[in-house]
Subunit: 201 residues, 2 copies
């Protein structure tokens, strides 16, 4: 696995999230660590790359993130759909968790060390973004909305290279999009838009 | 087309965006109107439903949105991939536009009236969310990030009903996810997660 993992240039890191996949968020602080699923995540800027993610108030991962000022976003594959759902809640999104349970340990998950931040990264994902929290207490408190700057990014080069996803021949590594209640849509084929010229105006 | 359009209950409106599709944002103010593409949009809350979307400072649609305090998010289909890209910029996301050009007119687009807000809605999309701006000037100015409350929602019942997307048999209505430069990923098959129990912890 690790032999397929390559760094992604930061100006292209937004492309790991541009297609709106469901993600996993991990954080660690003072020897504690955790991971949760989040369907509500998106890029926020190109360079420096930034991201936005919604994290439920009940989530222990959120507390670790707030305490450490760091978090990782990883993009799981269809092979990880069961663990992605298990790391979420039955509500379908924001994925509460019992305080104090390390879900890496509970589910026997394999991790590897991030290059810049302290949060552990989950093996087997399609992409990973290491982030530093951009503190915005008003929207964190008011909307459960967290912003971060991407400080390092990595992808499985079998399905992402030169700034593009290419899943053909690697169906088990396609990324996933949660709808609700454990039902996901898997990435399908790629399509390229053709130029249109305005007819009027 | 309009015969297939049905209202979506507001508590399930988040499911129209939960899978992270690229969207079109329209707004109108004092007789002017416009529409733009945005890949960076996501749900922000369940009930009342809220959304977050990133809108480039150069966008005229953004100015109309700020002036009117209203906007519509529509979810285009793969049949609309060319117009979606045309309503965006070559940069791949935030999709600047020349001030003063009404792209509905320029591209000969068919619209219908929203039920609550003043912004026009684009015919042929898979879903529509009518939104009122939740003014947050600091993040609008600092991050180009706009929050809204969904006040009405509609979907094409051929592909969304009872809170679920079901594209089988309607490949031309599948929703799309922009990667970069006019390259999109089309929604593929659905998959349901199986329950996993923690093995340890």
């Amino acid at each position: 696995m690790s032999s397929h993992r390559l760094a992604v240039d930061l100006p292209k890191a937004y492309r790991l999230l541009n297609h709106g996949p469901t993600v996993l968020v991990s954080a660690a602080h003072q020897g504690q660590r955790n991971i949760m699923a989040a369907a509500w995540a998106m890029p926020l800027d190109f360079a420096p790359p930034k991201v936005a993610v919604v994290l439920d108030k009940a989530a222990w991962t959120r507390q670790l993130l707030e305490a450490s000022g760091e978090f990782a976003i990883q993009v799981p594959t269809v092979s990880q759909v069961d663990i992605t759902q298990a790391l979420g809640s039955s509500s379908g999104l924001a994925l509460t968790e019992q305080q104090g349970i390390d879900k890496f340990t509970a589910y026997g998950l394999q991790t590897f060390a991030a290059s810049v931040i302290g949060a552990p990264l989950l093996e087997g994902c399609a992409a990973w973004l290491e982030c530093r929290l951009l503190p915005e207490p008003a929207i964190q408190h008011g909307y459960d909305l967290f912003l971060g700057e991407v400080v390092a990014a990595h992808a499985d080069s079998r399905v992402f290279s030169n700034g593009r996803w290419h899943f053909t021949g690697h169906d088990d590594l396609r990324t996933i999009h949660h709808v609700a209640g454990g039902h996901f849509i898997v990435d399908g084929d790629g399509v390229d838009a053709h130029p249109l010229k305005p007819s009027r105006g």
